[in-house]
Symmetry: C2
Subunit: 426 residues, 2 copies
Amino acid sequence: MGQQSNLKVVIIGGGFGGLSAARALDKASVEITLIDRRNFHLFQPLLYQVATGGLSPADISFPLRAIFKKQKNIKIVLGEVIDIDTWKGEVVLPTFSLSYDILIISAGAQYHYFGNNSWKKYAPGLKSIEDATFIRSQILRAFERSEFETDPHKQAALLSFLIIGGGPTGVELAGAIAELARETLLNDFRNINPLDARIIIIESQDRILPPYPPELSIKAAKSLQRLGVEIMTNSIVTHVTNQSVTVKSDKNEFTIPASTMLWAAGVKATGIGELLSKTITVETDKAGRIIVQPDCSIPGADNIFIIGDLAHFKDKNENVLPGLAPVAMQQGRYVGKLIKKRIKNRRTIKFQYKDKGNLTVIGRSSAVAFRGKIQLWGFTAWLLWVILHLLFLVGFENRLLVCIQWAFNYFTRNRSARLITGEKRL
Amino acid sequence: MGQQSNLKVVIIGGGFGGLSAARALDKASVEITLIDRRNFHLFQPLLYQVATGGLSPADISFPLRAIFKKQKNIKIVLGEVIDIDTWKGEVVLPTFSLSYDILIISAGAQYHYFGNNSWKKYAPGLKSIEDATFIRSQILRAFERSEFETDPHKQAALLSFLIIGGGPTGVELAGAIAELARETLLNDFRNINPLDARIIIIESQDRILPPYPPELSIKAAKSLQRLGVEIMTNSIVTHVTNQSVTVKSDKNEFTIPASTMLWAAGVKATGIGELLSKTITVETDKAGRIIVQPDCSIPGADNIFIIGDLAHFKDKNENVLPGLAPVAMQQGRYVGKLIKKRIKNRRTIKFQYKDKGNLTVIGRSSAVAFRGKIQLWGFTAWLLWVILHLLFLVGFENRLLVCIQWAFNYFTRNRSARLITGEKRL
């Protein structure tokens, strides 16, 4: 397909970064191959809604082939990259290799247990659809088991939900679990009272949402407390077992029994940096992110671009850009345009991030947001969140359905996707 | 809860039968316990839509606790029945037992491989949400793999979908897979042409839909052939491997290579009859169904009722009632009312099935239906199918959303839930 002379662009990862890069290259004289392990783009900011039964996986997942149905210069490959050979210019998959002229890597991040990988099986993180449906089953199963538990200690543990990490993900999860327990499940049980459920955020710093202005952290904490969420700040998790978390707080160490522990305490880059470093010198930071140049390429390899959560990009104020969807999207669009300019031998400029602000939703009618010095909270911030997310979803067929599902959930306080599924059924 | 004098009614199974029985007992002076292995009621007639990416699991699954939120005389237990002691009047679960005065068993059916259980892993049946999402992944993965398969024989096998059994389930699956390939995926690939996909129904009798009038079987076959489905009648499957099915047809035996084989050839009752037979004499038929009396109770135990797919019930013309949702629902409602009458010492009558007719959908705007001598086909039958299913779904919150999703799918020919999920991701 296409002329032989076309540049071969290989994109690894169909997340926000990869998708934006591919779209920016629409109608360019290039042959794009987009590789992903999944056959769909995942709208990660709403994954916590799947984990708490508010939305179905398909509501926030968009088949990559459907997205690019009409873009003729792109091929989609469902597969896992097992090696990258920068000398040959090849990306290696289990059964074949793909040669590239330009490589864009947007492979994202995964949860980071800071050396305690054994905690992973007790306190899963929320990155994939499978994570979300597993956590959903775990939360719902805890309520089901508590209904017929006669030992009050065990019952209390079953109704304790610990969220490790008080950043945006932890706050959103805690708010959604609290609403699930206090509103959706309120009249569902006969022996237990879902209001007895304890939802606890454990945060190592002195306030939740550390990247936010302190006033907003306080507002968010108050909103959460109104939903019944307990917040433990200055608290470090020192041990995790299948039935408890040990916390060190102000020199005291104590153990909280719980059956559901969720990890939202930090991410690290996926291991693709190691593949690159076999044939090229790459520098990574502590979180495994690859240090890139002002045009998002790797020093010494101007045909390899790293974007999104995988990239360590310093802006003009020497701040490293955070792992947020808008950063990945802007970088993807930038690299796509840069390639077009290079083809036409036009002058290229450095990448510059336009800060779109930060926004964390706490629950029905409650959120916090800031952009520079502008701060929003409560219903106003929540309304902004709804509008922005619906706008983001524009371009994806499902946006109307998601909107209707939300309206349903909002007015009925119901969460119809609260299914316990998967292999282990009880 | 309730007065001590209340009758204890235990219902095993939250399918159509169990649900109807529990609902019929609303406001009766009984203490109901409904036991199911799942926390939701599954609307099985639409399961093939999940298996082919048209609907999400939550669209056809309804949390049992939500259904019975307002019915105060019922407790829901998520658990598996491991024993039944009819002497003590107890149903045994792994961690506790429940005593009953009246037991209603509506535990359904499972796929029957007629002694060839090793075929199960190559040709899965469609009974649970997990079956449906597994089959969905398998079908979509076959297309993905064929896109990059260079060996034409292997590619042809990847694009061959064999459906073993030409009853209603087999016909609905074949029609939906054909539409997925020929409409939804039409422009999704660059190397393969989804029109090359072969969808083959293998039926042992001389026509598909054997319980239907012959004229409708012919009409259904023509509709399927218009969708590109091949139909092999008088064909018996003699062997199934992970890459082929061997078929015996008119004394010829031949092997069809395929990567996707689906089983829709027959069901048998779940094993609960064996639990009962430890303490009581139960008679079962060849399919494992328990032979019941005209009031749906077991001979010799008028406090144990068997309803739905698990029951072998002979109507006044000595015909055994088929394993259909309307049968289970009518039996459930009947038994619920019978219990109410017994409490009030009123006279009870025998169960009588009101035949609501048969309806099988083939695809967009195509179905076949009959009731007695009335026959419908094509768009008329399809419209009836849509209306009936929407009416059935009345009472469940999601009906509007399912309706909207269908409208989307109908007009856009899209299937937004075509996700490859689960542990084995590639």
